[in-house]
Symmetry: C2
Subunit: 143 residues, 2 copies
DNA sequence: TGACAGATGCAAATCATTCGCAATAGCATC
DNA sequence: GATGCTATTGCGAATGATTTGCATCTGTCA
């Protein structure tokens, strides 16, 4: 995927433009995030970053994640397992289906559901800022 | 609402049938839950229960909540504010719209969305066990 | 190259929740 | 109604994820 490099560059530009220092640790974390195509939690990202540069601390991982989340560069998800999981925010919006047996996360998107949500909120007098749709399911047995 | 008394009785019967002791503390917590028509967290429930019977501890509130959740008598929700909120499980299934400014929780239900979710899961080869749909929004300005 | 504000690592602090343990109290039995 | 066994309780300590205080370090820009 060349998308990873683009992603990394986007992170980089984004921080630069905001006058935020591009430290060695941040570079490593940005790289790890850019390469991630799963939904890692803070500790997993810390492990991946540490493997590249041992000077990266868990605190900095948390601080950087918060920074990127605030700038809208990544998304934080709170699935039902307690900790937060992160994902690049440059992809098209989608929802998640979590496999209850394996913990696997499958992404999907339904235009119809998006539209219905907006309609429902409007009826209730609200504008949706964001939403969360998670399906928890089991693989359908093929009998 | 006379529903509260029925609810309380249902909790009571449920625990009794399972051979679980009906302690003074549990009675108070069951009552508080039966009376709740909002989505209180553990600490809020603890405060309400303490007001009735000071001998109720936070630990017991947590233990009782877990007990009732496991027995399917109440539902646990993990909105984006970190802690768990609880709600009676005898009401019709519904989803939630959370007011980002006030924290208020509005319940709604859409048959269409329910159906679409099942369709999507089926296409991906899954059966939905449960799902979570939360809309986070702001009151629409009336101009 | 120097200066300084922003960033870092570490350890300690939070916050919600759980757990260990000795003391207590349901509840079935006598 | 008393007795005994075990589930349950309150307390405080432990946990796990995340945040924060602080002394030290390091980008960045002049």
């Amino acid at each position: 995927m060349s998308g990873e490099i683009e992603r990394y560059e986007r992170f980089r530009q984004d921080l630069k433009a905001a006058g935020i220092r591009l430290t060695e640790q941040r570079k490593v974390i940005l790289r790890v995030l850019a390469e991630a195509d799963d939904h890692p939690d803070a500790h997993a990202l810390f492990l991946r970053a540490s493997a590249i540069d041992a000077s990266v601390s868990l605190s900095t991982v948390y601080r950087t994640l918060k920074l990127l989340e605030e700038r809208g560069a990544i998304q934080r998800h709170a699935f039902d397992d307690g900790r937060s999981r992160f994902e690049n925010n440059d992809v098209e919006h989608h929802d998640h289906l979590i496999d209850l047996d394996t913990g696997a996360v499958i992404e999907f998107r339904s235009e119809k559901i998006e539209r219905l949500q907006a309609e429902i909120a409007a009826e209730l007098g609200y504008d949706i800022i964001r939403h969360k749709l998670e399906l928890y399911g089991r693989r359908r047995s093929k009998n």
